[in-house]
Amino acid sequence: MASFTLGKYLPYNSLIHKMDPRAKIIVMMLLLCAIFIPAGFIGYGILVVIVTSIVLVSKLNLKFVVNSMKPMMFMLVFLLIINILVIKTGPILFSLFSLDIYLDAIMQTFYIAIRLLLMIMITTCLTATTKPLELTLGIEDLLKPLKVVKVPAHEIAMMISIALRFIPTLIEETERIMKAQASRGVDLQEGKIKEKIGGILSLIVPLFVSSFQRAEELAFAMEARGYSPGEIRTRYKQLHMKYGDYLAIVFGVLLNIVMLTLSMVF
């Protein structure tokens, strides 16, 4: 399970690492918006260049990011087949066993692949350069205006940070229970379906029982240390927006305008 790298924080020292998490989240949202504006080849060209440079500035390994696309390959091939069968517009490229392949089908698939790649690059960039705790603080701050409509921003952020904190603990626990049940003859690889279902139950039930117990103990510990949901608290980690952060947001907005213009021109 140590190979679980997608979405993991990588502690380098880069400009992007130093950005305010709030600015990073906003810029990420803006970039994601830009991706979905159909601005043709030139638009995607610009985006690929920008996103690639962001990844490089973050000191992330480009190969590592692209590699995280691999699990998507199957889906993309599947999509290509569907597109070939469904999309019948544009010039015919060539025929394969009396099946006409249209240019638009190929282009559609290509666009989707590019969008997926860009999305993964952008989100990886965010999670790899921002500590989970800072990310939750950022989300909390950005959700604050929604307090007016009774969105419990702080409680949501607390839940996310506790969930993040307990992921490694729960992975460890799962491994332990799997091994314990394997010692009792549970075999999830081979064996009949009925046995497999029994085997999965033997993992899930103990995991639930122990998670509930953990949750109860954690709640006691939090309460004993004076936590009370809804109460005002101070905050240890203070976030500070700098010039660069504002600049990045402005840049993100500009990018969207450029994309919109491009999409209208073409």
Partner: protein, 282 residues
């Protein structure tokens, strides 16, 4: 019948940045039909070592022999399941592996996985529950309604129901009160003497090692530091000092008396030591 580790290495997460050598060149013979304690500091490789015994972890290099099973590193192992039936492994805090709605079903889960028919499995389950000291009135209860100590007994019964020749336990008394721990250790001793099981247990408690075990394997930084009889181990205080282990009370008392020129050699329980003291005082 034997348990032999031959030049076994084990490395976690090979070829990743997290690579970690847990066991180095383990050569070890475990005496059958004895109670063997495995001790050592946290992170010394005890848990990794015992998980080899039923094939949960396969060696990176070397050879492991458990009864008729031979496991060679990098060779696909056949019949892992029957090895697991032969070596019952009880993890730390085993009460967390209970999941069925009734105790009898939970105990019968193991044998059924190994192909024992239902009514036969239920029969074994009843016998196993009795073996761990709980009566038949518990059979239909939910395992989740029991006290901590009772849950642990039921979990151990679930392993015993597989009728293994070798029973391996990882810190079986952790978190129990002194009385519960004592009863637990007496159970393992009984399983060894009455039911002829080979028992291996990972422990930190030197009183338990001294009072209930025959042999001791000391792990240190992924290597076997020592494999000897319990008496030899505790007689030699240099080992204890080197390992930073506080000797069991009896040994400490004997050493203190010896330093004051009261001869208590050859005494290994409280009664015989007191007899010597009485002689000295009268």
């Amino acid at each position: 019948m034997s348990i032999e580790f031959k030049k076994i290495d084990y490395t976690y997460s090979v070829n990743t940045p997290f690579q970690f050598v847990a066991l180095k060149q383990i050569d070890l013979n475990i005496e059958m039909n004895k109670v063997t304690a495995i001790i050592g500091a946290t992170g010394s490789g005890k848990s990794t070592l015992v998980q080899h015994l039923n094939g949960l972890i396969l060696p990176t290099s070397g050879q492991l022999i458990v009864n008729d099973f031979v496991i060679n590193a990098n060779v696909k192992v056949r019949n892992l399941k029957s090895l697991r039936k032969n070596v019952g492994l009880v993890f730390q805090f085993p009460e967390y592996q209970l999941f069925e709605e009734s105790i009898i079903k939970d105990i019968a889960f193991g044998p059924k996985n190994f192909g024992v028919p239902e009514d036969e499995a239920n029969k074994i389950a009843k016998a196993s529950l009795k073996l761990v000291g709980l009566d038949e009135s518990y059979l239909e209860k939910s395992p989740l309604d029991l006290s901590g100590g009772q849950k642990r007994r039921v979990a151990i019964a679930g392993i015993l129901a597989m009728e293994p020749d070798v029973l391996v336990l990882d810190e079986p008394t952790a978190g129990l009160d002194p009385q519960g721990a004592k009863q637990m250790m007496e159970l393992f001793k009984k399983l060894n003497t009455v039911h002829n099981k080979t028992v291996l247990l990972v422990t930190h408690d030197m009183e338990h090692v001294y009072n209930y075990c025959d042999n001791v394997v000391v792990m240190k930084k992924g290597e076997v530091f020592l494999n000897s009889s319990v008496n030899t181990f505790f007689e030699n205080t240099t080992y204890l000092d080197e390992l930073n282990i506080l000797a069991p009370n009896i040994i400490r008392l004997k050493n203190m008396l010896k330093n004051h020129n009261i001869d208590v050699s050859g005494c290994d329980d409280i009664h015989s030591i007191c007899d010597k003291i009485v002689k000295e005082l009268k």
